[in-house]
Amino acid sequence: MARLLRSDLALVANWVAPGSAVLDLGCGDGALLAFLQEEKGCRCVGVELDADNFLASMDNGVEVIQQNLEEGLAMFADHSFDCVLQLQSLQMVQHTEAMLQEIGRIAREGIVTFPNFGHWTHRLAILKGRMPVSKSLPYQWYNSPNLRFSTIEDIKALARASGFDIVECIALHEGREIAMMPNLFGSLAMLRLARHAPLQAQR
């Protein structure tokens, strides 16, 4: 059975090498991991806290660990995966920098996607004096699960400071790639990261 993916997930899937070991932090219903397992022969593990998503992942045939990402990733050993995915959940984690470092500890490659706070509609909303509410940030400031708000340039800077090279960066809006002024016109950012520094014994 061939699986179909949302456009952003299809782009992520393109970045994952066939046969690699993939850890997905906040794997949702597990559709992407199921695709990677079946179509690309990957060994996949998902992490998901939400009970309904957890069951959906099981039903998608994905191995899934029910855990709160805020409790840390001690469950996963150094270099135990080839690639760690964190798709639209990095902004919900309190310790963004520590999370990026953990991704680098567990795998050589990371793929993160997140809403771009620098999208022009968001900037305009702020200019008008209100916090933005949009398709990519569909919450009010007081009930949003998102704890961190960043632009694409912000996250690139943090990723570099956390020991990653930025291999690719794509901005999307409504499923289409934005080539011109991505930090202004892209509402969703996708970063493909490769750890440049060797693991240090500082931990």
């Binding site: 009970a51 957890f54 069951l55 099981m58 045939g61 191995e63 899934v64």
Partner: protein, 371 residues
């Protein structure tokens, strides 16, 4: 309701136990549910915990419902219309299999304290012989809660080629010091009962029921969560006035005494001692310098590990240690941490998320094994 009957299966090949002792012959009480398919590929072995038995599901002629009837049966999470389910009473227990209360063929009297200690691994060896007898090479799944989960884990390590999936619920790869401590208090209650007679109480026509009652009361406290107990009993009084004596003032006292009393009427004291020791001894990582991932490295099963947030007897941290060891060994594992209020006992109770997790797992197993 479907009436189930048990069978007794005799074994005459001598069994060498981990203790060094040899049992020349023994028998096992079993029950089965569902139908073994033509390929003999749909068998599921259910391993029981401390005080349960081979009577897993359905109702006996005497009207007794199986201990996991909410989980196992037609259309239930472990669906007996799809799987052939085997329940077996463990060696040393007291519900029909050979144990301390059985007659020792050498003395023609009950074994009593002479029945050898058995370990979790011994049980698994015996269960493997049972499967040989039933003509089953490979289990679709071995599943158990608590001590039953230990057996499931031991199966995956001892007979990797014979297990497709291993489900360990509210279990652990080794008891904590606190767990062993609780077990020893329970054993001391039995061992110091004047009617224990060094384990040969059958010869005196008595049972150390005071010891058993206390042992069960202690155990029961550890199976419930503090919140659960507070909600069920709080400080509710059994009568209106305090008695200013040592009788029952509070509902919780009355409940625990009732549970202890009931237990002491059907459970064998020597079996309680033996099974708690088997719990204490289980530590498969010990042979690998404490490295559980090395102990699990040769397994071939996929795993489902389940814990309950309020279980402090076999806490989620103990399940997470198993999951970490499996991940380190690159073995396929799914881990569910069920938010449930009922402590260790949750593994026996109805909980939709828990049951749906097990249901999904067996559905996945059916897809994988074409059942």
């Amino acid at each position: 309701m479907h009436v189930v009957t048990s069978e007794i299966i005799e074994f005459n090949e001598p069994l060498k136990l981990r203790s060094g002792a040899v049992l020349a012959a023994y028998h096992l009480a079993i029950e089965t549910y569902g139908r073994l398919n033509a390929l003999r590929s749909n068998a599921v072995l259910v391993c029981h915990a401390l005080n349960a038995s081979h009577h897993v599901a359905g109702v006996t002629e005497e009207g007794e419902t199986g201990w996991w009837d909410n989980m196992v049966g037609p259309g239930k999470p472990l669906d007996t219309e799809r799987f052939f389910v085997i329940g077996v009473n463990n060696l040393g227990s007291c519900f029909g299999s050979s144990g301390p209360a059985s007659i020792n063929p050498e003395t023609k009297k009950p074994y009593g304290a002479d029945f050898p200690l058995v370990t979790v691994e011994d049980w698994v060896d015996v269960q493997a012989r049972l499967l040989d007898r039933l003509g089953i090479d490979r289990l679709a799944c071995v599943i158990g809660g608590s001590l039953g989960g230990m057996q499931a884990l031991a199966w995956s390590m001892a007979y990797p080629e014979r297990v497709a999936a291993c489900v360990a619920i509210a279990s652990t790869a080794k008891l904590s010091a606190q767990n062993i401590a609780f077990n020893d208090v329970a054993r001391q209650a039995i061992l110091t009962d004047p009617e224990f007679h060094g384990g040969h109480y059958y010869d005196y026509g008595v049972v150390p029921s005071r010891g058993l009652r206390v042992a069960r009361m202690i155990g029961h406290i550890t199976y419930l969560s503090g919140d659960d107990m507070a909600e069920k009993f709080g400080r509710a009084r059994s009568g209106t006035d305090l008695q200013y004596g040592y009788g029952v003032d509070f509902e919780i006292e009355s409940y625990l005494r009732y549970q202890g009393e009931k237990f002491s009427r059907y459970f064998d004291a020597n079996t309680y001692l033996l099974i708690t020791k088997a719990l204490d001894y289980f530590d498969p990582a010990a042979a690998f310098e404490g490295d559980l991932s090395r102990a699990l490295a040769n397994t071939r099963a996929r795993f489902l590990i389940v814990s309950f947030t309020t279980d402090w007897r076999f806490a989620p941290a103990q399940s997470r240690a198993i999951v970490k060891a499996l991940l380190d060994a690159k073995r396929p594992v799914t881990y569910a941490e069920i938010d449930a209020p009922h402590g260790h006992d949750a593994f026996l109770l109805d909980d939709l998320r828990y049951h749906n997790t097990v249901r999904s797992y067996f559905a996945g197993l059916r897809r994988e094994l074409n059942l």
